[in-house]
């Protein structure tokens, strides 16, 4: 029987949708529910990874290190993962995260920049962590270029490399083909991280699975950037129906989504106007709320900002360009009006 490992990222990707306002008690409750439902890996970090708390990305209400401790404290079987983006977080935060209970490190770079992750992989291996490489915005490059980058991560010590559809811009055919290329060329496990901006997060995850993916990501109720991720409870139900071994209790996950996550969500991420445009234009999902805020502040349609960011080929983490683009669009409008 096929088996796949699910990592729940409600407490990391979900941090974006929460505008990084998770409270300690909320994290404890969510982690406990996931642990009891058999989720093997739970990711807990600021949405932009360790040390993401900033003006650029939004300050955390509760220090992420405290949230990691809270989650680690209530889990009986699940292991805690943290995300690290080289250029944002450093080995300094990595060391503290491990002291707080992190056992799996996911290291994310833009899909062409894997070689900035070497020092972090090596440090993580030295600390005997399980390591996962995250190639973000993977819709922007063809399979063969992604393979080269994944092989770099493999050479640094990655146990698994993910194709990360940060923009929710892929369709199932592309997701499957990219996973297949990884399976053919890598000795590591292969993962897929979906966003639902075009409504195909589950479809892409299934295509990835069919192509041989060993790991998939989900978040309860899809709590995540843009239109959110593949909902963990939905993945559990679908995979169960397909006869795929996950070790998850779909009923308990449905309860966790219904009674633990839903009441604390500020909104239900969905394929609304602005999320669809993110997937369609191929823009980093996390830009959603930042672009909405800037659009309101400078009185424009968020789609204008998002499309321009796509045109400029903005990559993960470039939230500062949102205000910059909004200011420039505002100037142009003023110029046109006068």
């Amino acid at each position: 029987m096929t088996a796949v490992r699910i990592t729940d990222t409600s407490l990391r990707d979900g941090s974006h949708a929460m505008s990084h306002q998770f409270a300690a008690e909320q994290v404890r409750d969510v982690a406990r529910a996931l642990d009891e439902a058999g989720v093997p890996v739970i990711e807990v970090t600021h949405g932009d990874g360790l040390a993401g708390s900033s003006i650029q990305y939004g300050f955390s209400r509760t220090p992420e290190m405290d949230l990691i401790s809270e989650a680690a404290g209530v889990c009986e079987q699940a292991r805690i993962a943290a995300l690290l983006l080289p250029g944002v977080g450093t080995v300094e935060q990595l060391k503290e995260a491990v002291e707080r209970g992190v056992r799996v490190l996911r290291i994310a770079t833009h899909c062409t920049e894997a070689d900035i992750s070497q020092e972090h992989f090596e440090m993580a291996k030295e600390m005997e962590l399980e390591t996962v490489g995250f190639l973000m915005m993977a819709h922007m490059r063809p399979p063969e270029e992604l393979v080269e980058q994944a092989q770099l991560m493999e050479s640094y010590g990655a146990d698994c490399v993910y194709i990360v559809d940060s923009a929710g811009a892929m369709l199932p055919g592309e997701a499957g083909a990219k996973v297949e290329a990884f399976k053919e060329n890598l000795g590591t496990q292969v993962g897929f991280h979906a966003h639902n901006n075009l409504g195909v997060a589950i479809g892409n995850s299934l295509a990835a699975l069919e192509a041989g993916a060993d790991q998939l990501d989900g978040s309860l109720r899809g709590l995540g950037a843009g239109a959110g991720n593949a909902p963990t409870e939905l993945l559990a139900a679908v995979l169960d129906k397909m006869g795929v071994e996950t070790g998850l209790d779909a009923f308990e996950l449905m309860d966790a989504a219904e009674y633990t996550i839903a009441p604390i969500m500020p909104f239900q991420p969905m394929t609304d106007r602005d999320s669809i445009i993110i997937g369609y234009a191929g823009v980093y999902s996390t830009f959603l709320l930042h672009a909405k805020r800037a659009a309101e502040r400078y009185e424009m349609d968020p789609r204008e900002i998002l499309v321009e960011l796509g045109r400029r080929e903005a990559v993960a983490g470039q939230e500062d360009w949102i205000i910059d683009v909004a200011l420039e669009l505002a100037k142009e409008k003023e110029g046109a009006a006068s």
């Binding site: 650029q56 944002v88 833009h110 920049e113 070689d115 900035i116 070497q118 470039q318 500062d320 910059d324």
Partner: protein, 306 residues
């Protein structure tokens, strides 16, 4: 140091060394480029030096140390090499302008604190991001105290060499410290992003400042920032304030606070490296300026340029 020029040398014949060489030849000021030193006999940088009529050696730093007339040495090698060079240069009584992350001497930014360190024999230029953004923090902090300063650098992937890539944490640590120690922020934070867009994008930097006080004099901040930008443009012509200072409020760990934002672009002069590589240009241009200020100091030239 006969006449009106100080003899200087460049150690390191890679891209940075070559760009700096062309800058020194184009605009020598009170310096005379006497030697370029490398370790690869066939290196492109040494060949270029010879083509320009500059003495070139592949015997490393030794010939530089042996020339008593060379007073200022730009080190564009690596942090590891500079640790060794720093000691040798000190013993030889030469001033080291360090472009590597080694940081054996104090951090300097020409517009902010260079004049405080003219009696040192080794100064460090931190990072490209620091040269671009620390002056902005400094410009605001001389008007109002800073609780926090954050910078985000976006550079073209092609302009980030293996040194930066293998030790990207160094950028983060050093730049954040620069924002604190020279920029005057109680707490500094730095983020770097590599973007592979084609054609390559010109270096961009965003600076966010959270002042200590809730009431700030926006006009005074704007004047101060514009003043510093004009000073930087004297030695980095492609340095530009694209937007800002713009003022907003943010919810921060210190409560609802005013926020000052500056959006900068740094286009290189294209002396040797491509124009989009403003991140490399600002390092070599700053190094040239630091060398010039030291040279004038050694010569006793009165003009204060810091």
């Amino acid at each position: 140091m006969s006449g009106d020029r100080v003899r200087v040398a460049i150690v390191g014949s890679g891209n940075i060394g070559a760009d700096l060489m062309y800058k020194l030849l184009k605009e020598p000021g009170h310096m005379e480029l006497a030697m370029v030193a490398g370790i690869e006999p066939e290196s492109e940088g040494l060949k270029r030096a010879r083509d320009e009529g500059v003495e070139a050696t592949h015997e490393g730093i030794q010939p530089v140390l042996d020339d008593p007339e060379i007073k200022i040495v730009f080190d564009a090698t690596s942090a590891k090499a500079h640790v060794r060079h720093a000691k040798l240069l000190k013993e030889a009584g030469k001033i080291a302008v360090d472009l590597t992350p080694a940081a054996r001497g104090p951090y300097v930014v020409p517009t902010a604190n260079l004049t405080e360190h003219l009696d040192e024999d080794n100064v460090n230029l931190m990072t490209c991001g620091a040269q671009a953004t620390v002056p902005m923090a400094y410009a605001v902090s001389r008007v109002t105290p800073l609780r926090y300063a954050e910078m985000v650098s976006t550079v073209a992937s092609l302009s980030a060499g293996p040194g930066t890539r293998q030790n990207i944490d160094e950028f983060t640590f050093t730049t954040a410290r620069g924002l604190e120690e020279i920029g005057g922020a109680e707490q500094g934070k730095a983020i770097i992003i590599l973007n592979p867009a084609d054609p390559p994008l010109i270096m961009r930097n965003t600076v966010y400042i959270v002042p200590e006080d809730d009431e700030i004099d926006e006009d005074a901040i704007t004047d101060s920032v514009e003043g510093v930008v004009a000073e930087i443009q004297q030695y980095v012509p492609g340095y530009q304030l694209k937007n800002g200072p713009t003022f907003d409020e943010r919810n921060t760990p210190w409560g609802e606070k005013p926020l000052v934002m500056m959006f900068l672009e740094v286009e290189g002069a294209g002396d040797f490296l491509p124009k989009y590589a403003g991140n490399l240009d600002i390092m070599t241009a700053s190094a040239r300026r630091v060398g010039e200020v030291f040279a004038r100091h050694l010569l006793g030239v009165e003009e204060v340029v810091a």
